[in-house]
């Protein structure tokens, strides 16, 4: 992959924004680190897919978005949820399976959603978010609200035919959608190069969709590229695609012993470390950075404590809550 061109000198006007990135990435990292320990301690059942190492992608892309924009995520969706603005207590309450959770404990990590902030859900189906984003973009377009829908997918999801159908219809209908590929090199336990034989830049071109392909370990670069693409989408309504090369620092899911894994993507940096170097170079003191990270940790811990004190979800009401409007007959 092409190396980013050397950075121009520190841009102090950008500093507040950069510090924000630092804070957001630390929040996500901290959230997920806590999830890792909670899972290891048996406090969370089911599947937990962490995006540790991919925070710059979620934060950089969401930095380009407004509240009215929508995002349809993948099974690895914590970063997207938090970066899109989901409150941490709602988030933890959900992932701990509490009744006060955003989804009342029914979705957990793999389907976490918060409609109020335009987070249309993580998704248990690989490629499952793509059509949701297409539909959401269609709604934005018809309502003329100027909003953009973000369609997240992984490199493994490139194998699913739904990507093809989504690219075609987005291009054909000029839908305001930003396709975001988090390319971490892995399709579960297989290296993606062993199961995918396509070139994403060329694929986008085949559909007439302008695209950018860059390292996803630099939040500033991601935010800049995503910002330009989102601006372009708001300008002409047509879809764009961004591919971010990142590193999945942890296993496919928590509990993954990763015996299949050999050193991979070693050239991709930890985006948090990467960004900290930038901030240090820009003259921010290490103390300031640590302070922000510490505050993030505190925020996360506070939310987690609220969540832990929550009321466990309960089957009784839940099994009756299948429909928005019950039908005439007995079911449930």
């Amino acid at each position: 992959m092409r190396k980013q061109k050397a950075e121009s000198g520190p841009d102090t006007a950008q500093l507040p924004r950069w510090l924000d990135f630092h804070r957001s990435m630390h929040i996500i990292r901290q959230v997920e680190s806590r999830l890792a320990t909670l899972f290891a301690d048996g406090e969370i059942p089911g599947f937990i897919h962490l995006s540790i190492g991919q925070e710059a992608s979620a934060v950089g892309v969401c930095a380009a978005l407004e509240l009215a924009d929508t995002i349809a995520s993948t099974h690895r969706g914590h970063g997207h949820a938090v970066a899109k603005g989901m409150a941490l207590d709602r988030f933890f309450l959900e992932i701990l399976g509490k009744d006060e959770g955003a989804c009342r404990g029914r979705s957990g990590s793999m389907h976490i959603a918060d409609m109020g902030v335009g987070m249309l859900g993580a998704n248990g189906i690989v490629g499952g978010g793509l059509p949701l984003a297409i539909g959401s973009a269609l709604a934005h377009k018809l309502k003329g609200n100027g909003a953009v829908a973000v369609a997240c997918f992984g490199d493994g999801a490139m194998a699913e035919g739904i990507l093809h159908e989504a690219l075609n219809i987005a291009s054909l209908w000029k839908l305001p959608v930003l396709f975001v590929c988090d390319n971490n090199g892995w399709s579960e336990f297989s290296a993606t190069k062993d199961v995918i034989s396509l070139d994403l830049p060329q694929l986008a071109r085949a559909f007439g969709i302008a695209s950018r392909h860059l390292r996803g370990d630099d939040v500033v670069a991601v935010a800049e590229a995503a910002g330009q693409l989102v601006d372009a989408i708001r300008g002409d309504g047509a879809p764009r695609l961004i591919e971010l090369h990142t590193r999945r620092i942890r296993g496919h899911f928590e509990g993954d012993a990763q015996r299949y894994r050999h050193d991979d993507a070693a050239d991709r940096e930890d985006p948090l470390v990467n960004h900290e170097s930038r901030l240090l170079r820009a003259g921010v003191t290490p103390e300031r950075l640590a302070e922000i990270a510490e505050a993030a940790r505190g925020e996360v811990e506070a939310a987690l404590q609220i969540a832990r004190a929550g009321r466990a979800a309960c089957a009784v009401g839940a099994l009756d809550a299948v429909y928005a409007q019950r039908g005439a007959a007995r079911y449930g």
Binding site: L120, G128, L130, I134, G135, L138, Y323
Partner: protein, 324 residues
Amino acid sequence: MAEPRVRDALNRALADAMAADERVVLLGEDIAGFGGSFGVTKGLLDRFGPERVRDTPISEAIIAGAAVGAAMSGLRPVVEIMFMDFVTLAMDAIVNQAAKAHFMFGGQCSVPMVVRLPHGGGISAGPQHSQCLEAWFAHIPGLKVVCPATVGDSYSLMRAAIDDPDPVIFIENKALYALKGDMPDPPAAVAIGEAAVARGGRDVTIVTYGACLGHALDAAKALASAGIELEVIDLRSILPWDEAAVLRSLQRTHRLIVYHEAVEAFGPGAEIAARMADIGFDELDAPILRVGSPFAPAAFSKEIDSAFFPSSARLIEAVRRILA
């Protein structure tokens, strides 16, 4: 329009719904310029324009999936899948996404979408263009499933389906599109989940829906002259289905036959029979019978295709057996 056809009623229902609510949009292959393979959407492009009446690529998965996302973001999409058989390409969107969303997201959103699925045989369309797969959807919590058999119900159930906050599988029978019938003015309101007694009778309850309704009524007429009075219940909704109406009828007749075009084994009739073998057991004076298509694919050949359809003659045989 003196005697409208089922197709006209559906068309009018779509038009009225679109006029009443600008969130209603139509998606499907050749539904706009061409007006739909069965003519259901004719004229709607001219009236509502290409933004709301959309010809899609031949991409069933994204059509259905986009409808879910659109519904979650405030539209009320009505999707046409040209033949029900092609819904095999759109099952993830319907089953894993649409059906689950309201529950899975804790009630944060609902998915008000309608998926129109033309089913049924009798036109030598062969094994990949004739299936009646409604039992699949009826097994999925979160979906609703309806299948009108008359002109009036076609209109009313379409309006109900579009107004419904949940995803509705709207099954149209291909053989019924040209059926003529009364269109009440103003149209009746029909709630999803409510059956209709299409004909009253005291001897045997026939529970049916879709194309089989007409054949059931034919059988009823034929048997009436022999002094046998069938009570014919048009289910109209398959999920939820009107258990109370079926039970009421059973309390009168004490005999039940379920009759549908879908393949009998593991078909929708199995649920109705099974349920009545539970809550209606004490009412039963005879085995519960089912009459459906045999356990085979549909075929091209006219001869095989017509033997495949569960004729009124087969229903009459079952009636004789249940009364024997």
